[in-house]
Amino acid sequence: MAKPEPCLTELLPQEAIASIDHWISKYPPGRQQSAVMAALTIAQDHHGWLTEKLMNGIADYLKMPRIAVYEVASFYSMYHLEPVGKHVISVCTNVSCMLCGSDSVVEHLSKRLGVKLGQTTSDSLITLKEVECLGACGGAPMLEVDKQYHENLTEQKIDEILAGLEK
C-alpha cells in the first residue's frame, strides 16, 4: 500500500493553502483540478522551486493523478523543478526572438554570468533559463527576470539589467 506522503497542509503555510482554496473556489464543485496551475505557482512562490513532495501534495490535495501534475509542471517553463538562484533570467529563444538575435543575447548572458542555459551561478544568485515564446514577440528579443519582462534587448541593456539585480 502506498504510504501517504506529507499532506499539502503540512508542506505549505496556512496563507498559501488559503490562496489555493481561493482558486479552487473559482471553479465549479468537483472541478478543483482546474486550480492546478495556480496551486503550483503558489507552492513555488513559497518554496522557490517545486519538489516532488510538493507536486504530490498538490495532486493529492486536488484529487488528481500525480503524473497529471508532473505533466503540467514539466510543460510550463515558469515552473522550476530544480533549485534555482535568487533570480531567474528566462530568455526567449522562440522564432521571433531568434530572428531578432536571441542567440547573441544568450551568448552575452552566458559570458557575463559564466553559466550555460539551465545553470545557476556559483553564488546561487542567478539561474539562466531558456524558455519558449512569452508572448512579447513585438519586443523581440526579450527576456524575463523573475516576473518582469525586458524587451528590445541590446548588450548594454542586458548589462544594466544585471547591474540592477539585488544581491
Binding site: 497529471a68 505533466e71 514539466s74 510543460f75
Partner: protein
C-alpha cells in the same frame, strides 16, 4: 443513418460515427497511429488525414464525424500528399534501425512507412535521444522510438483506471513515462505492449527472443481466472514464445490480464517436473512411466484392498481441464472412492445440496456494463478477475451504475462505488440481512421474524432502494466468499436478496475451471469426504492433481502434515521442489498450459475447447492421457479414449438437463459465525494462485507480489500496542510468520488482513479464523 461515400463506395453510417470507423467497417484501410477503437479519440498523430469534398484542407479521419452526402477520398493525390508529409515528420525523430528493434516485423510504423514513407530522409540533423525509464519487470521501454500517440496514456486513464504514464516535458523534450521513477503496477499493464504502435513499449520477458514471422499462432484459452480469456499462443520450433490476447468481444474484448499474458514464463522453470519419480526407502529416483503405473497399481491397489476406498482421497486444482477432472472423478468412482473434490479453499459445505450445477453468472459481460445497480459481495475484482473489473468500472463510469461493495477487506478500486462497506466476518451475514430487511419493508411486506432485531442503516436502505428501483440490477458473490466458514449463510442471504428483486448475478470462483469441475462431477459423493474433511483427517492415500498443498488449499499446515503421514501421496503436477519431496511418495509429470488440449467452462457457462500448442517437455504428458493409462492399469472399463474430444463428448452426453448457475433454496440452519477474537481476513494473492504462476519469474517480481503486509485498523493496533510500519509476527495453528504492519483503517475492529498463498503464508491456517499477532523488537 447518413449516406456517405468513401473512395467511391456508397456506405451507410450512424450519425456521430467518425470517418475512420465507417471505413474500418467497410474494409477501407486508413493509416493511423493514435486512433484505437477501444480508446478515446486524441487525433494527435495526424496520420489518418483524408480528403473530404468541399473541405479545403485534409482532415483527420479519426476525429471527423460523418455527415450526410460526405464524399471522402483516402487515396486521392491530396490525401496521399498529406499522409506522406505526416509520415516524414514522424520519422524525423524516429530511429531508422528496425533490424535491431524488438518490434521489427510487427510494427505499425514500419508497415505504414513501407506504404507512405519516402526512400530517403531529407532530415540530416541529429535525432533526439530519450532516456528509457524503468517501469517494472514486465515492460521494457525504448523511448526514442515513441511517436507520442498517447495510446498508452489513454489506456491508463480510460481502461486500467490508474493513470501511471503521462507525457511530461514539452515540444522536443516531451517524453512518455512515469516522470518519477516507479514501476507501472496495473494488473492489466501488459496491454500497452499491444497498444504501442512502435517498439517503445515491449514485453520484457519476450524481448529479443524471436521475430514475428518465425512464429506460428495457436488459439487457446487463458488458465487463471473464471473468465477464460481468449489468447493466441505464439510458438517457435515447439516452444511457447509469448501469449497475446485474441479478440473476443463477449469476454476479454482485445485485452488480457498480466497474469494470463505472462504466466507462460513459468513453463520454462527449472522446477518443471520432467520425469516420473518414486520415493523408495526415503530415496527419490527417476523411473519410466511403465514403472510408475505399476507402482501405483500395487500401492494404491493394496491400500484400497486393505483399508477400503474410504481411506483414499482425490483432490484437483480448479484450473485443471474439464477432461482431466471428468476422468479423475471417473477413475475415483471406478475405484469406489467417493472422497473427491476441487473446492480446495472451501470450509463450509453445510448446504452443499443447494449448490447450483456450476458456480457462475447468469448474465453476460456486456450486460454487466449496462447494469444500473449492483451489489458485489466479498470480491476484490481487480486482483481476482481483472477483466471483469473493467466491465464493472465501465458500468460505474459510463452508465452511472450505483455499485454497493460489501467486503471484509478494502478492495483495490479504480472507480467510485456508490458505497464501499467493510464488515467484520462476524457481522457480515447480518450486514447483508439489513439489505434484505430493507427490501421487505420497501415492498410493503412483513420481514420474517429473524430479521426483527436488525437495524437498517442508510447504506443498506439505499442499496435496497437501488436494487428495487433500477431496471437492470445484479447481485454478485466474489470468489472470496466461498472460502468463508459461513459461505452458505452468506450465499443464502444473497439468494433471498435476489429473489426479492429482479437481480441477475451469481458467484465467481477461483481458478479457470471451477464450473467445469462441478459439471464434471469432481465433488464428493454423499458418503464421501469433501476437500476439507479429506485434509483435516488422515487418509491412507491421496492423489493431488495440480496442487501444491502449501499454497493451494485452505489449511496448508494440516494438509502437509496429513500428506506426510499417509502411506501413499501421489503428486501429479507440472512443477515440484524440495518441499514436494517431503510429502509426496510418487510424482507424475503433467503437461501445463499450452501443452495439452482440453476444455474450460467459464463463469458464463461457455464451454471453450482448445488444442495443445506445443508438446510437453521431457516425459511430461497431458493429464487426460495419464488418466487414460492409469484407468487401464487399474483395470477399469471404458478408459480407451483417443482424444479429449471423446472425453468431453462423453461428459456432454451424460448431461440431460440444461445446466444452471442458479442457487437453490437452502434448508435447515446454516453455519453462522461466532467468536470475537482477532480474525484473519484476506484474499488470494494475485500471482500465487497456481503452480504455473508461482514459477513465472517476471510476475513474481511485480509489486503485487513483493509487498505483502499485515493490515489492522488503528484502534485494534492501538489496543495491541502496535504502530504502523512496525515489525510484527502472526501465527495461527503453526509457526510464527514475521511480517510488517500496515495500518488500514477501513478494516473492521479485530480483523487482521493477511492474504492467502504468498510465500511464507503456508505456515498459517484458515481464513476467517483466529490469528495471533505480536510486536517484534528490532
Amino acid at each position: 443513418m447518413v449516406n456517405i461515400e468513401i473512395d467511391g463506395i456508397s456506405l451507410e453510417a450512424e450519425q456521430g460515427d467518425m470517418i475512420i470507423e465507417v471505413a474500418d467497417a467497410a474494409g477501407v484501410s486508413i493509416p493511423r497511429f493514435c486512433y484505437h477503437h477501444k480508446l478515446s479519440v486524441a487525433a494527435n498523430c495526424r496520420m489518418c488525414l483524408v480528403e473530404v469534398e468541399n473541405i479545403p484542407k485534409a482532415v483527420p479521419a479519426c476525429a471527423t464525424p460523418v455527415a450526410d452526402g460526405m464524399k471522402v477520398q483516402t487515396r486521392s493525390p491530396r490525401a496521399r500528399e498529406a499522409q506522406k508529409s505526416v509520415m516524414e515528420f514522424l520519422l524525423i525523430n524516429h530511429p531508422l534501425d528496425c533490424p535491431i528493434c524488438d518490434q521489427g516485423g510487427e510494427c505499425e510504423l514500419q508497415d505504414i512507412a513501407m506504404g507512405y514513407g519516402g526512400d530517403v530522409s531529407q532530415f540530416s540533423e541529429g535525432k533526439r535521444v530519450v532516456v528509457d525509464p524503468y517501469i517494472g519487470p514486465l515492460i521494457s521501454t525504448e523511448m526514442t522510438r515513441c511517436i507520442h500517440c498517447t495510446r498508452c496514456v489513454r489506456f491508463g486513464t480510460e481502461v486500467a483506471g490508474i493513470r501511471e504514464l503521462g507525457a511530461t516535458g514539452r515540444g522536443e523534450n516531451m517524453s512518455i513515462g512515469t516522470f518519477i521513477e516507479k514501476s507501472v503496477d496495473s494488473e492489466i499493464s501488459g496491454n500497452i505492449i499491444d497498444l504501442c504502435p512502435v517498439g517503445a513499449l515491449t514485453s520484457k520477458p519476450y524481448r529479443f527472443s524471436a521475430r514475428a514471422w518465425e512464429m506460428g499462432q495457436v488459439p487457446s484459452i487463458a488458465s487463471h481466472d473464471c473468465l477464460g480469456s481468449h489468447v493466441n499462443i505464439h510458438v517457435r520450433r515447439g516452444e511457447i514464445m509469448r501469449v497475446v490476447p485474441r479478440d473476443c468481444e463477449t469476454i476479454n474484448e482485445c485485452w488480457l490480464s498480466d497474469r494470463d499474458r505472462f504466466s507462460y514464463t513459468g513453463l520454462e522453470s527449472k522446477q518443471r517436473l520432467l520425469q516420473p519419480r518414486i520415493k523408495e526407502k526415503g530415496q527419490w529416483k527417476n523411473v519410466e512411466w511403465q514403472d510408475v503405473f505399476e507402482h501405483i497399481v500395487t500401492k494404491l491397489g493394496g491400500i484400497l484392498e486393505s483399508e477400503g476406498p474410504e481411506q483414499v482421497g482425490f483432490l484437483a486444482h480448479p484450473s485443471s481441464t474439464t477432461e482431466e477432472l471428468y476422468l479423475l472423478q471417473k477413475l475415483a468412482r471406478g475405484l469406489k472412492v467417493e472422497n473427491i473434490d476441487y473446492r480446495l479453499f472451501q470450509q463450509d459445505f453445510s448446504a452443499q445440496q443447494s449448490d447450483p450445477d456450476y458456480p457462475g453468472l447468469d448474465l453476460t459481460l456486456s450486460d454487466v456494463e449496462s447494469l444500473d445497480a449492483m451489489l458485489v459481495i466479498g470480491a476484490n475484482l481487480r486482483k481476482e478477475q481483472p477483466l471483469l473489473n473493467i466491465r464493472l468500472r465501465k458500468a460505474a463510469q459510463e452508465n452511472g451504475a450505483a455499485i454497493t461493495l460489501v467486503n471484509t477487506i478494502s478492495p483495490d478500486l479504480n472507480y467510485e462505488p456508490h458505497s464501499n462497506v467493510l464488515l467484520s466476518p462476524q457481522a457480515f451475514a447480518d450486514g447483508l440481512r439489513g439489505i434484505l430487511k430493507a427490501l421487505y419493508l420497501l415492498k410493503g411486506d412483513i420481514p420474517p421474524e429473524q430479521l426483527n432485531s436488525l437495524n437498517v442503516d442508510s447504506w443498506q436502505q439505499v442499496c435496497a432502494e437501488k436494487l428495487l428501483e433500477s431496471p437492470n440490477v445484479a447481485v454478485i458473490l466474489g470468489a472470496q466468499v466461498s472460502d468463508w466458514p459461513n459461505y452458505h449463510e452468506v450465499r443464502e442471504v444473497a439468494r433471498l436478496i435476489r429473489s426479492l428483486t429482479s437481480a441477475s448475478g451469481g458467484e465467481l470462483s477461483w481458478g479457470a475451471n471451477a464450473a467445469g469441475a462441478a459439471i464434471a462431477g469432481m465433488v464428493n459423493g454423499e458418503s464421501g469426504f469433501n476437500s476439507y474433511e479429506m485434509l483435516e483427517n488422515t487418509l491412507q492415500a491421496y492423489v493431488l492433481w495440480g496442487i501444491d498443498p502449501r499454497f493451494d488449499v485452505a489449511d496448508p499446515l494440516q494438509a502437509v502434515t496429513n500428506l506426510k503421514q499417509a502411506a501413499l501421496s501421489i503428486c501429479v503436477n507440472t512443477h515440484y521442489d524440495e518441499t514436494t519431496e517431503t510429502w509426496a511418495d510418487v510424482m507424475l509429470p503433467m503437461a501445463g498450459f499450452g501443452e495439452t488440449s482440453g476444455t474450460y467452462v467459464n463463469c458464463l457457462g461457455n464451454w471453450q475447447s482448445f488444442t495443445g500448442a506445443v508438446n510437453p517437455p521431457g516425459e511430461a504428458r497431458p493429464g487426460w492421457k495419464i488418466l487414460r493409462v492409469l484407468g487401464n492399469f487399474m483395470q477399469l472399463n471404458d478408459f480407451n479414449y483417443t482424444s479429449t474430444t471423446e472425453v468431453i463428448d462423453e461428459l456432454r452426453g451424460s448431461i440431460c438437463n440444461k445446466l444452471s448457475s442458479a442457487w437453490k433454496a437452502q434448508e435447515g440452519t446454516p453455519h453462522s459465525y461466532s467468536g470475537s477474537e482477532l480474525t484473519r481476513v484476506g484474499t488470494h494473492a494475485l500471482y500465487r494462485c497456481d503452480s504455473l504462476i508461482r514459477h513465472a519469474v517476471p510476475l513474481q517480481r511485480t509489486k503485487d507480489n513483493t509487498e505483502h503486509s499485515v493490515g489492522l485498523n488503528e484502534s485494534t493496533a492501538h489496543r495491541l500496542g502496535l504502530i504502523d510500519g512496525q515489525k510484527i509476527r502472526v501465527r495461527q495453528s503453526g509457526d510464527w510468520l514475521p511480517m510488517v504492519l500496515d495500518i488500514d483503517n477501513a478494516l473492521a475492529d479485530n480483523a487482521v488482513r493477511v492474504d492467502i498463498g504468498f510465500e511464507g503464508s503456508e505456515v498459517l491456517g484458515l481464513i476467517h479464523k483466529p490469528i495471533y499477532i505480536e510486536g517484534v523488537s528490532e
